[in-house]
Point group: C2
Chain length 128, copies 2
DNA sequence: GCTTGACCTAAAGTCAACTATAGGTTGTAG
DNA sequence: CTACAACCTATAGTTGACTTTAGGTCAAGC
């Protein structure tokens, strides 16, 4: 599959796909004689994995470490799992925090509905 | 309250507090004759609000718009509420997505536990 | 009375994560 | 056989959100 096709399927720009490969976020994609990238199904699975992890907020740096360990083979399994578990916990904490903030926002929206503006009234009194 | 005290209480650097005020994220804080900021309770509530919203991932730009509307008074209530509701929905969607990614990560960690490496095995076969 | 730490501004610097540009090659459709 | 879209590399630029630096003021303790 060409880079253009992968780009469309996963909604990631071709520039970003090349960037991801260059920095080591995706194992090197095989090329045709001409030098053009030819993504295999496995390459696509990596692209999908990386897309998910990025959307979950996991940094490029951490993912580069993971891919780099992966390239070193089986002996790095424990280290790789450690990274995933750490990131899982960070993600879970982030979700909890965002959930709290969602509730905070909901309460704030309610004050608009009910016509009560605690914070705002005070500032208006202050003349700002 | 001085900027240093506010910084400690809310765990935001004094530089960031000044930056937030400069770009319009927090209404202007009253100064003493000397020019030193003196945070009122209401100022602190703004700082807290902004901290929460930033942690929820709401951009500086959106928050600046909100504060700017707020400064224009009551007539902007509807517009302000609209911003909050929009951001609430974006946040809810982001939480859902992150939840999916958490499940994805959990499944991946399970494959490590069980010794099944779908993606990895394929890439090892490939010789990478 | 002077030093020291906390404050001030304006402007420049940093960092992560892309994104765009310049200049070149390839392959396919008319 | 040629034009033109899609690919390539290397390098520079952008964006958002701070952070640091340089150079200065002020107030309290020794």
């Amino acid at each position: 599959m060409t880079i253009g096709e992968v780009s469309k399927i996963y909604d990631i720009s071709v520039e970003t796909l090349r960037y991801y490969e260059r920095v080591g976020l995706i194992p090197e994609v095989v090329r045709r004689k001409s030098g053009v990238r030819d993504y295999s199904k496995t390459d696509c699975e990596w692209v999908y994995f990386i897309k998910c992890m990025r959307r979950a907020g996991i940094s490029i740096e951490v993912l580069v470490d993971y891919v780099s360990l992966f390239k070193q083979g089986d002996k790095t399994q424990a280290a790789r799992k450690k990274i995933l578990v750490e990131q899982r916990d960070i993600l879970a904490a982030r979700i909890d925090e965002m959930h709290e903030m969602l509730e905070h926002l909901d309460r704030k929206i309610e004050t608009y509905d009910s016509g009560l503006f605690y914070l705002e009234e005070k500032l208006i009194e202050k003349g700002q």
